[in-house]
């Protein structure tokens, strides 16, 4: 930053324009801090302001920090600096503080509408009456199927899920930290310690490997056939997002939505409301193959590194089950450390994988588990915190 100090910040129209533009970007959902605005003002003086594409690239390099935002930025830039040759007109289009809310560029409208809608469509369990649960109630709840619960019971289960903790400890990383039982010699600390006694080595300090929980990537089916379960799974995923740092959550029905950032909100209801605002295909059809394809292509390589465990939560009822589904499942299976398929249909004792889609998917999973009641979720948590083999099928009983 020191290097840019000799440049004065611009005054007048250019500054106003940049501030106004930053505000518009913020409204459109791109996080733009005041630091970035100052940078933009410094940078804009270094390029020829009459050269539109240079100005575009300059502002883009500063305001856009993720590739996903590039499209929104381009739209916003076009709208905001429509008449690039006419500075006066540009100034008119600056949303001033009181107008800011009334006149966001259309690029933002979609985002904003979605946000406000989310709060309205918010339903059921959150408002359900507070029901104190006794110990025996708890036991009944443990085994009751999520699909058959009343609103009050759902609320109780939600609270139970929120208190679940994930035991830590898992993958060994390649990083080291001081550890008395470690195997590596820590020369640096040993030497420094020995200097205190004038050069005799007294204490041997050692290093051991740091252990870290494996990242989790959850793919949750939100199609109509799963609708009784999705909400509770979202609560569950919120609970583990809170406890672990590296959890990515994707929802899919007919399209794939990344809701990881929304789930980071502390309050579960707020997190879920944000999720539902993002998703456009609640309780609709299912296109597992298409969704998995999109995931594999766009996200797989970005979130499945570092030995991630993939959780696929779906009933596997796919209409158009064909070889593409098997292909995408195979790719998903090969890109993660472990693929666990959680299927609520497995609650039926005599469940046979007859549906075409399920038959296609089953050969490619490492573990096939039921998740239809509190007990099975607890089982899952245990499974997640056990040191695990790399691949290999475990089929757990219902």
């Amino acid at each position: 930053m020191a290097a840019s100090n000799h440049l004065d910040t611009p005054a007048g129209q250019t500054a106003d324009n940049i501030i106004g533009f930053a505000r518009a970007l913020r409204a459109a959902g791109i996080p733009v801090g005041p630091g970035a605005v100052i940078d933009a003002m410094t940078a804009i003086q270094l390029v020829d302001i009459g050269h539109r594409t240079d100005v575009f690239t300059t502002l883009e390099a500063i305001f856009v920090k993720r590739h996903e935002h590039a499209a929104i930025f381009a739209q916003a830039f076009d709208l905001f600096f429509r008449a690039a040759e006419d500075w006066k007109q540009m100034l008119d289009s600056v949303p001033l503080p009181d107008q800011a809310k009334k006149k966001p560029p259309p690029a933002a409208r979609r985002v904003q509408e979605a946000f406000s809608q989310g709060r309205v469509t918010e339903t059921a369990p959150a408002q359900a009456e507070e029901a104190r649960v006794s110990v025996s109630d708890q036991e009944i709840l443990q085994k009751k199927d999520f699909a058959q619960m009343t609103a009050a019971e759902v609320a109780a289960v939600t609270r139970a899920i929120a208190t679940m903790t994930l035991p830590q400890a898992e993958l060994r990383t390649r990083r080291y930290r001081p550890d008395a039982k470690g195997l590596r010699l820590d020369m640096r600390r040993t030497l420094r310690g020995s200097l205190r006694t004038g050069g005799d080595i007294v204490d041997i300090h050692k290093l051991g490997r740091i252990e870290k929980p494996a990242p989790i990537v959850a793919l949750l089916d939100i199609s109509g056939s799963m609708s009784e379960y999705t909400r509770l799974f979202l609560h569950f995923l919120h609970a583990i997002t809170d406890a672990r740092k590296r959890v990515s959550v994707f929802l899919f029905g007919t399209r794939l939505t990344n809701v990881t950032r929304s789930l980071r909100a502390r309050d579960p209801d707020e997190a879920l409301a944000r999720c539902s605002a993002l998703v456009e295909d609640w309780a609709g059809g299912t296109r597992i193959a298409t969704s998995l394809h999109v995931f594999n292509k766009l996200w797989g390589r970005r979130v499945l590194g570092q030995g991630a465990i993939a959780l696929l939560i779906s009933d596997g009822l796919e209409r158009e089950a064909d070889s593409r589904l098997a292909f995408e499942m195979d790719r998903l299976h090969r890109s993660c450390r472990r693929l666990i398929w959680l299927n609520p249909l497995l609650r039926y004792g005599g469940f046979e994988p007859k549906a075409q889609g399920i038959k296609m998917m089953l050969p490619h999973v490492d573990e096939f588990r039921p998740v239809h009641n509190l007990k099975s979720i607890e089982g899952l948590i245990e499974a997640l915190s056990m040191p695990q083999p790399h691949h290999g099928l475990i089929r757990s009983a219902a």
């Binding site: 930053m1 020191a2 290097a3 840019s4 996080p31 801090g33 630091g35 970035a36 940078d39 410094t42 940078a43 270094l46 390029v47 020829d48 050269h51 594409t53 240079d54 575009f56 690239t57 300059t58 883009e60 390099a61 500063i62 856009v64 920090k65 993720r66 590739h67 590039a70 990383t173 390649r174 990083r175 080291y176 020369m187 640096r188 030497l191 420094r192 020995s194 200097l195 205190r196 004038g198 050069g199 594999n296 292509k297 390589r301 970005r302 979130v303 590194g305 570092q306 292909f327 790719r331």
Partner: protein
């Protein structure tokens, strides 16, 4: 004091890059120019093989600066990225001091943790003054390092200084030119990106790719180079798991040269496809109809 002065405008930057055989899009030249002028690290993301690493090399060569490269990998730590104490030499020094009957502890500890016992790794080297001017520091494939390492970079990238507990703070007299690349195998934290100028390096347009092939593959015929570029561009519109980058295009053009191919035929494509597509599924998909279709597109107008 610099071997060659920093470019004064975006056009000068473009000229500098192309004089070294790097044909950049104007947007990339603009961002690079800004990063030099503002003293900010340049953060480049994009698919593999689009020339992210290359730009640091070209920049170093073009400006006559030293290139210091830090290749990231899982488990990269301070000892291999920043500095390490040469313990063996330190122990010898302690023994020598003892033999000489030197027992002043303060004195000894000052002697032991001196610069001559410090093994400098890339990041520390990059902060050292250089006669040719501040070096170009390339932090390659940052996404491969652990998250913990990113946090360490924050101090270096914002203040260009490193604190060594036993020794003190080392500060660069002149900020190095920093280029960071990432293949997005995971997301880099926003705190780090915020300190950088971000740019997404895209596949080049057909026209530019043709110019790149012609300049990088000497002796290639106009006809073949045009067909190669059209073929690759057509492939990128197909839904492959990994689309070929510019590096693959160049590899393939070289391979075709070696095979003495005059123009693209299904036979010669089949023989050399391994230079272009690196996934078995993708190669399998390109057999038969898709190949015919793409090939027709590539050879139709020539």
């Amino acid at each position: 004091m610099t071997a060659s002065a920093l470019p004064k405008s975006v056009d000068a930057m473009l000229t500098l890059l192309s004089s070294r055989g790097y044909l950049a899009e104007r947007s990339l030249a603009t961002v690079t120019y800004l990063s030099l002028r503002m003293g900010r690290p340049l953060f480049l993301e994009g698919e593999a093989g689009v020339g992210k690493t290359e730009i640091a090399k070209v920049l170093a060569a073009g400006l006559g600066r030293k290139l210091i490269r830090l290749q990231c990998y899982e488990g990269l730590d301070v000892a291999s990225a920043v500095y390490e104490w040469n313990s063996a030499a330190q122990m010898i020094a302690i023994r020598l001091a003892e033999a000489a009957g030197d027992t002043d502890r303060e004195q000894l500890s000052g002697d032991i943790f001196a610069e001559r016992f410090l093994i400098k790794r890339p990041l520390l080297q990059a902060l050292e003054p250089d006669v040719a001017g501040a070096p170009v520091l390339l932090i390659d494939e940052l996404d491969r390092a652990d998250e913990a390492f990113e946090a360490y970079l924050l101090e270096i990238l914002s203040d260009f200084q490193i604190t060594i507990p036993e020794f003190g703070t080392v500060k660069a007299p002149q900020a190095p030119i920093v280029v960071i690349t990432s293949n997005r195998t995971r997301e880099i934290h926003d705190a780090l990106k915020r300190r950088c100028l971000y740019h997404w390096v895209d596949y080049p347009s057909a026209e530019r790719e043709l110019a790149i092939v012609k300049s990088r593959v000497p002796g290639i015929s106009a006809k073949l180079s045009e067909q190669v570029v059209r073929f690759v561009q057509a492939l990128r519109t197909q839904d492959f798991y990994k689309s070929p980058g510019v590096a693959e295009t160049l590899d393939w053009a070289n391979a075709l040269q070696e095979l003495d191919a005059r123009s693209l035929t299904p036979q010669v494509i089949g023989d050399s496809l391994g230079a272009l597509l690196k996934y078995q599924d993708d190669i399998a998909r390109l057999q038969g109809d898709t190949l015919q279709k793409v090939l027709k597109e590539a050879t139709s107008e020539s």
